[in-house]
C-alpha cells in the first residue's frame, strides 16, 4: 500500500526526533552527552575554513600544490585536516581552460574535513538534478558566467571518492599572506559554483 495519499498528518519533525531520542534513552542506548559531543565535534572539524587554508597554502607553495594534486588527503592532513575512514580525496584544479564543479546527484556526499557539512543549496533537488544537465546555464543563474571557451567538468560523487575544487587565485593578491588569502576563499568556490573574488 502506498503511503503517499490520504493519510493522517505526520507528527512534526522536531517531535519525531525527540521521540526517537527518548525511546533510545529509555532503553539505555543513548549515552549521556553523546549527541552534544558529536555536534560540537562537527562544528569544530567540518568547516570550509579548512579547505580555504589548504587552497591558500597551495597558491603560495608550489611543492605543496603538487602534493595536494597528487594526494589530497595526505596533503590536507599536513595542515591537520584529517578525513574519517581514510577518505580518498581528489583535488580538482581550475585553470583558464577547465572549470570543475562538484555534485552528489543521489544523496549529498561531500568532503566534510575540507568543505564542511554541505550547505542547503548543495543538497537541494534543484542543484542535484540540474548541474549535470546544464551546468553552464545553472552556474550563470547562480552568478558565475563562464566564458564559452572554458570547458566544464562536472564531478558526480557517486562512489567513495571525495572531491574538492582548487579555485584560481584572483589577480590583485600579490604579496598577500596565507591567512589573508584563506579569508577570501568561500565554500562555494571549493565546490565550484563561484570563483574566488576580491572582497
Amino acid at each position: 500500500m502506498s503511503d503517499s495519499r490520504k493519510r493522517d498528518p505526520d507528527a512534526p519533525i522536531a517531535e519525531r526526533v525527540r521521540a526517537l531520542e527518548e525511546a533510545l534513552s529509555a532503553k539505555g542506548l543513548l549515552p549521556e552527552g553523546f549527541l552534544e559531543q558529536r555536534v560540537e565535534q562537527a562544528e569544530e572539524n567540518f568547516d570550509p575554513k579548512n579547505g580555504a587554508r589548504v587552497v591558500a597554502r597551495a597558491w603560495l607553495d608550489p611543492a605543496f600544490r603538487s602534493r595536494l594534486l597528487a594526494d589530497g588527503a595526505a596533503a590536507s592532513a599536513e595542515l591537520g585536516f584529517r578525513a574519517a575512514n581514510s577518505e580518498y580525496l581528489v583535488v580538482l584544479e581550475n585553470t583558464d581552460a577547465v572549470h570543475n564543479v562538484i555534485v552528489c546527484t543521489q544523496c549529498s556526499c561531500t568532503a566534510w574535513s575540507v568543505i564542511g557539512l554541505p550547505p542547503d543549496w548543495y543538497k537541494s533537488p534543484a542543484y542535484r538534478a540540474r548541474v549535470v544537465r546544464e551546468p553552464r546555464a545553472l552556474l550563470r543563474a547562480m552568478g558565475l558566467d563562464l566564458p564559452e571557451q572554458v570547458a566544464m567538468r562536472v564531478w558526480d560523487t557517486s562512489g567513495e571518492t571525495r572531491y574538492m575544487v582548487l579555485p584560481q587565485r584572483p589577480a590583485g593578491t600579490q604579496g598577500w599572506s596565507e591567512e589573508r588569502l584563506a579569508g577570501i576563499v568561500t565554500r562555494e568556490s571549493l565546490i565550484g559554483v563561484a570563483r574566488v573574488a576580491l572582497p
Binding site: L29, P119, V132, R133, A137, M152
Partner: protein
C-alpha cells in the same frame, strides 16, 4: 504491494522543474536544534550501536515514499533513514515512536530481497585511464550507486581509482567484496540528446561491475 525495481526518487541527475538554486549567505551548520540532534543520531546508530552501515543508511533514505522524499528537508530525510533502520533492526518499534511523537511517524518502505553474490572480482583493475567503457543497462531491485542518467552510455576512464566495498551488497548488510572503482567521463552530448552545451563533460565514479569494455 511495492514494485520491485529501485529506480528511486533519490536518483535526481538530469531531472527538471525543481526551480532556482538559492545560496543562503552566512548559512549556519544547523538551522534548528532537531537538525543537529538528527545528525548526531546517525553517528550513534552507525558507530555506537553498530546497528547498520553507511550504505544501508543511504539506502534507507532512498526507500522513503517519493512524495515524502521531495517534501522533506535534508535532515528530515536523514532522520527518516536513521529511524527506518532502527525500527527494521529491532532497536525501537514504530508503535513506541508514534506513541512518543503523538502522531504518525513516516518510515521508508521495506528493502528488496537482495541475494548475496558469489563472485570473486579480479584482484587487478580491469580498466585503465584512457579505456573506452559502456555502463551496463541495469536496474537493480536494491541499493545501487550507478545513476540512471549514465546507464547504457559510453564514456572514457579518466582515472582508475581505488577499490571500495561494493555498495549494492553492503547496502543490504550482505558481505561486500572490495571492488575497483573508476572515474568515467561522459560527453554532455552523449548523455543528453538535447544538450545545448557542447564543452561540458560529466565524470561519474563507478564500480567495475557497472561497466563493460566498449569497442
Amino acid at each position: 504491494m511495492y514494485d520491485s525495481r529501485m529506480d528511486g526518487i533519490h536518483d535526481l541527475g538530469g531531472m527538471s522543474g525543481f526551480g532556482a538554486v538559492e545560496i543562503e549567505r552566512g548559512e549556519p551548520m544547523f538551522h534548528e536544534r532537531w537538525e543537529a540532534r538528527a545528525y548526531a543520531l546517525n553517528t550513534l546508530g552507525i558507530r555506537i550501536l553498530r546497528a547498520y552501515n553507511v550504505h544501508e543508511y543511504r539506502h534507507a533514505v532512498e526507500r522513503m515514499d517519493p512524495a515524502h522524499y521531495l517534501a522533506a528537508s535534508y535532515y528530515e530525510r536523514w532522520f527518516t533513514g536513521v529511524a527506518t533502520l532502527l525500527v527494521e533492526k529491532g532497536v525501537v518499534t514504530r508503535e513506541e515512536l508514534e506513541a512518543r511523537a503523538g502522531g504518525r511517524f513516516p518510515l521508508g518502505r521495506p528493502p528488496a530481497d537482495v541475494k548475496p553474490l558469489r563472485v570473486t572480482p579480479p584482484p587487478q583493475p580491469r580498466f585503465a585511464a584512457g579505456d573506452s567503457v559502456r555502463v551496463r543497462e541495469i536496474h537493480p531491485a536494491g541499493h545501487t550507486r550507478v545513476p540512471r542518467y549514465v546507464r547504457g552510455k559510453h564514456g572514457v576512464v579518466v582515472r582508475a581509482s581505488r577499490a571500495f566495498e561494493f555498495p549494492d551488497l553492503a547496502g543490504h548488510a550482505l558481505p561486500a567484496h572490495l571492488e575497483h572503482t573508476y572515474h568515467v567521463e561522459f560527453e554532455a552530448g552523449d548523455l543528453w540528446t538535447d544538450a545545448a552545451e557542447r564543452r561540458e563533460t560529466v565524470v561519474v565514479d563507478l564500480w567495475e561491475s557497472y561497466l563493460e569494455a566498449a569497442p
